[in-house]
């Protein structure tokens, strides 16, 4: 388990790998920052329609940098004491944890809103691709949903719109 950052500045921890994680361990680290408000989202692989496994593909050279950019945007937008983003890649089975976002702040709204912002942008602005493998042998790449892009775009500030 990675140690939380020391010294000044917020705790920022981004992990993109195959390792499982314990959300509670990360929540405890965010709680220890003393801000008084911690929000989190944990995504779990659904077992709908006989799903056997989920394969998470990504663009290794770009993923970390792109997630860092998204995290930086959250930092610029909300007063945050800590941000943890964990996104697993590789083969995952139904019921397994796939993604975790945790935020800590002195303000409840900042913690909640930045957490929602981060998961919305992770879904449609970071280079991950999901492939579903079914018990009957079918396999298909998950198609991007317009509603996910809408969820991302609701965070675009009016003055930034073209």
């Amino acid at each position: 388990m990675r140690e939380p950052g020391t010294g000044n500045g917020p705790l920022i921890d981004i992990r993109i790998d195959e390792q499982d994680f314990e959300a509670g361990v990360w929540l405890a680290q965010l709680e220890a920052l003393g801000g008084g408000a911690v929000a989190s989202f944990t995504g779990i692989v659904r077992g709908d329609d006989g799903l056997l496994a989920m394969q998470l593909d990504h663009y290794p050279a770009m993923t970390q940098a792109q997630v860092s950019r998204i995290v930086q945007q959250a930092q610029e937008r909300w007063p945050l004491l800590g941000i943890v983003v964990i996104h697993r890649v590789g083969a995952l089975q139904p019921g397994e944890r796939i993604v975790f976002v945790g935020t800590a702040s002195s303000h409840r709204a900042a913690a909640l809103e930045s957490c929602a912002f981060l998961i919305d942008w992770l879904k449609s602005a970071a280079p991950f691709w999901k492939k579903e493998v079914y018990a009957d042998g079918r396999a298909r790449w998950v198609e991007a949903k317009a509603e996910d892009e809408d969820a991302r775009d609701r965070w675009i500030l009016d003055q930034d719109r073209a």
Partner: protein, 86 residues
């Protein structure tokens, strides 16, 4: 002569049958869309992968860009479907 590395992901990779290749850089003024149109003629896998430009997304030197972006001096182009993380 300058080269361009091209990376493929998800079903683009599966259709083309390889995860990357290196080509002679087609020139700074060439857009991604122009290059993709040229490559569509290289065989059935490319034609399949690039049949629906509206389903294709791109990154130049690891930054997302629209397909009408010129390659300029980029060294790495990635072609892939819309992302589905989270």
């Amino acid at each position: 002569m300058a080269q361009l590395d091209i990376l493929y992901f998800a079903w683009v990779r599966e259709a083309i049958g390889k995860d990357s290749e290196t080509i002679v850089h087609p020139g700074a003024g060439t857009t991604i869309a122009m290059l993709v149109a040229q490559m569509s003629g290289q065989g059935s896998g490319y034609a399949e992968a690039f049949a629906r430009p509206d389903k294709l997304r791109a990154a130049l030197d690891q930054n997302f860009v629209p397909l009408d972006t010129a390659l300029d001096g980029a060294r790495e182009l990635a072609l892939f479907p819309p992302v589905t993380g989270g």
